[in-house]
């Protein structure tokens, strides 16, 4: 039998495979050597960060997603910036050189001089006034316009001095004017917006440490160093230290973590809770951890049975075991919440409130007592809505199993974003798992979701005493008095239970230990201004 062809076939296959291997091995990366950290800043290099959120646009005035800020804050500056040092969160001047309050309603800003936008146009008082007006203008359709409703007039005193006149005292000003979660205060140039109009979101121009290079959708966003940046580094030369930044847009978390561990990525924008332990144990990585400005909760629809009954709401609020929830859903990466105000709000977060009996907490006997006092002591069936993203569905599942012990049957609906939004808007639910993130001030935590008639008050709760407290706190300049008002407001929440407050999540950032100079700010930021790579 003639079989030389098999040998030919085998030889051919061997050559093909061998050829491939040769190419691959020839291009193999050499392993990195471990060096002891030296301390002096090194300039240059490209930082590759895995971004696990999908930015909707790079136009800060039009962005709806919080994750986008992680990129924005490297392209733009705000009038103020968020600073976290010595366990205190403060708001410091950024593009402003100084910020004074001349009266309860008038803020004086002296601007830094000689700052240019990336396209060469100057940043001055006119530019600031224009940027603020863009946010306010209905034509822009900015979701952040509400932060400037109280702004009456922008008075240009001279090229680098501006007075902002508000109709009422506005302590939230300090958050609204930051380039990070504020976005109303992020400075955007008229020249670029005129040039690109709606497409400015894919051609961003700011004053920040990095210039925009490209945004390949679903793939990456590339930035490069701005040689004209106004802040100066430890070596006396302008920041930033890095040459290039590549935000790699990744959907699959497992691949992202693997890429981090092989060194293909230098960092990740977030770490899913169940991976935290593994990354913490990895000696070549540095894990940054802090409790974020957020709160996760279950909102009750208070307009209809059964949750129009306050005792049923109390039963649920005091019947949920937060510690078990933290273990099962968050892998221990969260702390129990007793009220909406979270630790980063360092002026307002009260340890005593959290530990004392004035906040919501797990108290099964109390829960059963409230249930007996309600109209549903024999049991009830309720619906629980959850958005099919992040950990909402898991929280819903654990809450369901816990409430069943009380005799409350729960039917869970997990929906994708548009379908969820429809039902959420119409209030078509008994309970909904929800969270509020990147909160740096109680005004943005308590007011939009819990005040009567506010657009985020999805449970339509109405309490006149609570309204009066948050209304007054919103325009109170004195921080001590403000804190006192908010404490009273939280006490009402603990008593009337319009929501069942669950946890404050921890935020994680992880970097290869070669990456130095990263400081974690509990507003989920990835500020790369002072980051450098050790080689």
């Amino acid at each position: 039998m003639n079989r030389p062809h098999f040998r030919a076939l085998a030889l051919l296959a061997l050559i093909v495979v061998g050829g491939c291997l040769f190419v691959m091995v020839g291009c193999k990366r050499m392993p990195e050597e471990d060096k002891a950290p030296s301390g002096a800043v090194q300039r240059g290099g490209t930082l590759k960060v895995g971004l696990l959120v999908r930015p909707d646009t790079l136009d800060p005035h039009r962005t709806y997603t919080l994750g986008a800020i992680q990129v924005h804050n490297n392209i733009y500056n705000g009038i103020l910036k968020t600073v976290y040092a010595n366990e205190k969160l403060t708001f410091e001047p950024d593009l402003a050189e100084s910020w004074e309050q001349e009266s309860a309603t008038v803020h004086l800003l002296r601007l830094r001089k000689a700052i240019k936008f990336h396209d060469g146009s100057p940043f001055d008082a006119q530019a600031l006034a224009w940027s603020l007006s863009r946010v306010k203008s209905p034509d822009t359709g900015s979701p952040h316009a509400w932060k400037l409703t109280l702004l009456e007039k922008v008075e240009i005193v001279d090229d680098y001095t501006v007075q902002l006149h508000f109709s009422k005292p506005y302590p939230f000003f300090r958050v609204a004017m930051t380039g990070s979660t504020g976005r109303a205060g992020t400075m955007v140039p008229k020249s670029a917006v005129d040039k690109w109009s709606d497409e400015f979101g894919v051609h961003p121009v700011g004053t920040g440490p990095f210039l925009f290079v490209e945004w390949i959708k679903n793939n990456r966003i590339t930035l490069e160093r701005n040689p004209q940046y106004f802040e100066v580094g430890k070596d006396g030369k302008p920041l930033p230290y890095l040459d290039k930044v590549e935000f790699r847009l990744v959907d699959d978390v497992t691949s992202a973590i693997t890429a981090l561990e092989t060194g293909e990525l230098d960092g990740l924008s977030a770490v899913p809770f169940h991976y935290v332990g593994r990354l913490r144990r990895n000696p070549s990585l540095v894990l940054h951890e802090t409790v974020g400005g957020n709160w996760t909760h279950v909102t009750f629809n208070t307009t209809q049975p059964p949750f129009d009954d306050v005792n049923l709401r109390r039963a649920v609020a005091y019947g949920i075991d937060r510690e078990a929830l933290i273990k099962q859903v968050y892998a221990g990466c969260a702390i129990p919440a007793h009220g909406p105000i979270s630790p980063p709000m360092t002026d307002f977060y009260s340890e005593t409130f959290e530990l004392g009996k004035t906040g919501q907490a797990y108290a099964p006997n109390l829960a059963r007592r409230y249930l007996a006092q309600s109209q549903y002591s024999k049991g009830v069936e309720v619906s629980l809505l959850a958005r099919g993203e992040e950990e909402f569905a898991q929280v819903a599942t654990v809450v369901k199993s816990q409430l069943e012990r009380l005799g409350i049957k729960v039917k869970i609906d997990v929906l994708d974003v548009p379908a969820f939004n429809k039902r959420f808007e119409k209030g078509e639910f008994d309970m909904v798992t929800w969270h509020w993130v990147a909160d740096l001030d109680p005004d943005e935590t308590l007011y939009p979701e819990l005040r009567t008639g506010e657009k985020w008050n999805s449970g339509s709760w109405s309490n006149a005493e609570f309204d009066a407290l948050v209304d007054e706190a919103q325009i109170t300049a004195d921080p001590t008095l403000r804190a006192h008002l908010y404490q009273k407001a939280q006490a009402i929440i603990a008593d009337q239970c319009p929501v069942a407050v669950l946890v404050h999540k921890k935020e994680y950032k992880v970097f290869n230990k070669r990456v130095r100079g990263f400081v974690q700010i509990p507003a989920d930021l990835i500020d790369l201004h002072r980051v450098w790579i050790e080689r």
Partner: protein, 326 residues
């Protein structure tokens, strides 16, 4: 080249071209309608956590989503005819660039997958089907079925864990840049292409083997073997006899490959047509969904065309109709 072949070729091409326009129009209309059936629209998605009824109305009007469906569709057709595919509702990227970028990745991935399939699966298929041998039969069927039955995200993850991580030869998140780094691009595409080759190759292996088994069993080939004809000569004829099934499954697989492989692209972080279309659907971003789906239809049409032409060339019986009509 005989006239019958030439006529057959023209008939095939003519049919495909004539139906292309109608097909593309129907597909875009169909997907537009289906997209509307999903609850929520691009405005809902964009607003996300900043949703409020007033903001929704403002955004909806700005995007033109408050107009009747027929108007929206015809305005889109009008825009396509005059100025191209416009921009994405959600991010304002130019749609033609998105499609081209996605197509480059997907076509590259598909070509490497096809190459791997042909290199590894075809020889296995041909050689493994000639003799009836229990171990080979069972082994190849098992391999093929397992490859096809395993979801591609699992195969991809396994390849990453077993090959990419320990060796470091292949990136976990490859970068496609043929202009500046062709070797790195090729190297980066090997694992995702292998993932797809395991999947589609499995299907081709099982189907092809079955078809080839029948072909090898034909009397004419038995006589040829008895007469001393060599393996490769007989293999050529076996392939020709089993061509219809093999070409059919191959061209369908190629069509699916070119439409985009969402799961594999997600695992390896590739921004191909699959992920582009999937994300666009989730975001109800119909300026992106419609061209992506249209392109899929065109690719299927093209791979079908190539399949038809191949069969014309391989199988003389396909030309006989023309001969009779003369």
């Amino acid at each position: 080249m005989d006239r019958a072949l030439v006529k057959a070729v023209f008939r095939v091409i003519g049919f495909r071209v004539a139906t292309l326009f109608t097909l593309v129009l129907l597909v875009s209309l169909g997907s537009f309608v289906l997209l509307q059936a999903l609850p929520g629209d691009a405005a809902y998605v964009l607003l996300g956590s900043e949703y409020s009824p007033e903001a929704y109305q403002v955004l909806r009007t700005r995007l033109g989503l408050n107009q009747p469906l027929a108007v929206q569709f015809f305005k889109w057709l009008d825009m396509v005819a005059k100025s191209g595919f416009g921009v994405s509702y959600t991010s304002h990227h130019r749609v033609d660039k998105l499609i081209v970028d996605g197509a480059v990745v997907t076509i590259s991935l598909s070509l490497v997958s096809v190459a791997l399939t042909v290199a590894f699966v075809f020889p296995l298929m041909i050689v493994g089907s000639e003799r009836q041998h229990l171990v080979i039969d069972l082994g190849t069927n098992l391999a093929g079925t397992t490859g096809y039955a395993t979801p591609s995200f699992l195969t991809g993850a396994v390849l990453i864990i077993l090959i990419a991580r320990p060796t470091g030869w292949f990136p976990v998140l490859p970068r496609v840049d043929w202009v500046h780094a062709p070797i790195d691009t090729l190297r980066g595409l090997i694992l995702p292409a292998a993932t797809l080759a395991v999947y589609y190759g499995g299907l081709v292996l099982v189907t092809g083997r079955a078809a080839l088994r029948d072909a090898w069993n034909r009397d004419c080939l038995e006589y040829a073997r008895a007469g001393g004809a060599g393996f490769w000569l007989r293999a050529q004829y076996a392939l020709r006899l089993s061509a219809p099934s093999i070409v059919a499954v191959f061209s369908l697989s190629a069509g699916q490959l070119l439409s985009g492989a969402v799961l594999t692209e997600t695992v390896f972080g590739l921004s191909g047509l699959g992920r582009l279309a999937a994300h666009a659907v989730l975001e109800r971003d119909f300026p992106v969904v419609l061209p992506a789906v249209m392109l899929s239809a065109v690719f299927f049409h093209l791979t079908g065309l190539v399949g038809d032409l191949t069969l014309c060339a391989i199988d003389p019986r396909r030309r006989s109709i023309e001969v009779e009509h003369e």
